[in-house]
Amino acid sequence: MDDPRRPDREMVEAVLARRPRAFERLVRQYQGLCWHIVQRMVRDPDDAHELCQDTFMRVHRYLHQYRFDSALKSWIGRVAYTVALRHLEKKRIPVVDADDEVHGELVENVGDGGDLEAGLVEEEVVRHLRSAIERLAPLPRTILTLHHLEEIPIPEIAQITGVPEGTIKSHLFRSRARLRELLRELLP
């Protein structure tokens, strides 16, 4: 049976063996993920750019410590998340809103189903939704991006953020509920 970590292993071994352009290939493969995590956390594009550089420098320095016990994508995502989190902590920016604190309660029904009100033009809904996402706190915004944009499963998001799976589900559930609520406020 094929080892699912084989591509990760080959890529890491190539970088550690200092094969030409191996690290550049790694960066190219994961720069999108890094950008989505960091930019969703910190918002400022210049800060996000600098933190992505910092992330990959750390990946290069500590890659020998990667033990293949999680996907390389999760490991790099974790580095990016930690770098962004430290940046926010230095600036004393909270990653969750005070009323958004979840204490690990499990919300099994992650999807809240339900269609939005008929009659609204979809383009308009998407535009308002985008501005509503901006108004979420950094952590729920990042979780939402990883789940909906990168399509990363909840257990992997838990590995990246270090937040328990139940809390991730709660954040997703609450974010969706909040977005629906904000949309109702924004749309006439």
Partner: protein, 107 residues
Amino acid sequence: MKNIDELIGRALREEPSRGLPAGFAARIAARAVTGEFSRFETFLMIALVGALVVCGVMNVGRLGSEGMHEVVANGWIAAFLACVAVSWLIGMTAARSGMSAPPPAPQ
């Protein structure tokens, strides 16, 4: 109207985002290699300074106080200080001309 999950996915996908610039990967890879060399240089410098200190201590022990007076009188201390000053000046000049600066951040 679509489900909110699909709409969230679409809102995130279609967001106008600057993203990372073209050539980001190549620049980071080059910077990582430069970083490796500077770590090697730092290691080399520490090793050489360590060897110098050890040799200095051994010679002081060997020559004793009278021998040290002779070393000072012959101008060896002045020569050593001159070497340190010249090395420092070269470093300052290189830093000002950007020779030892890290590669510029990609725009």
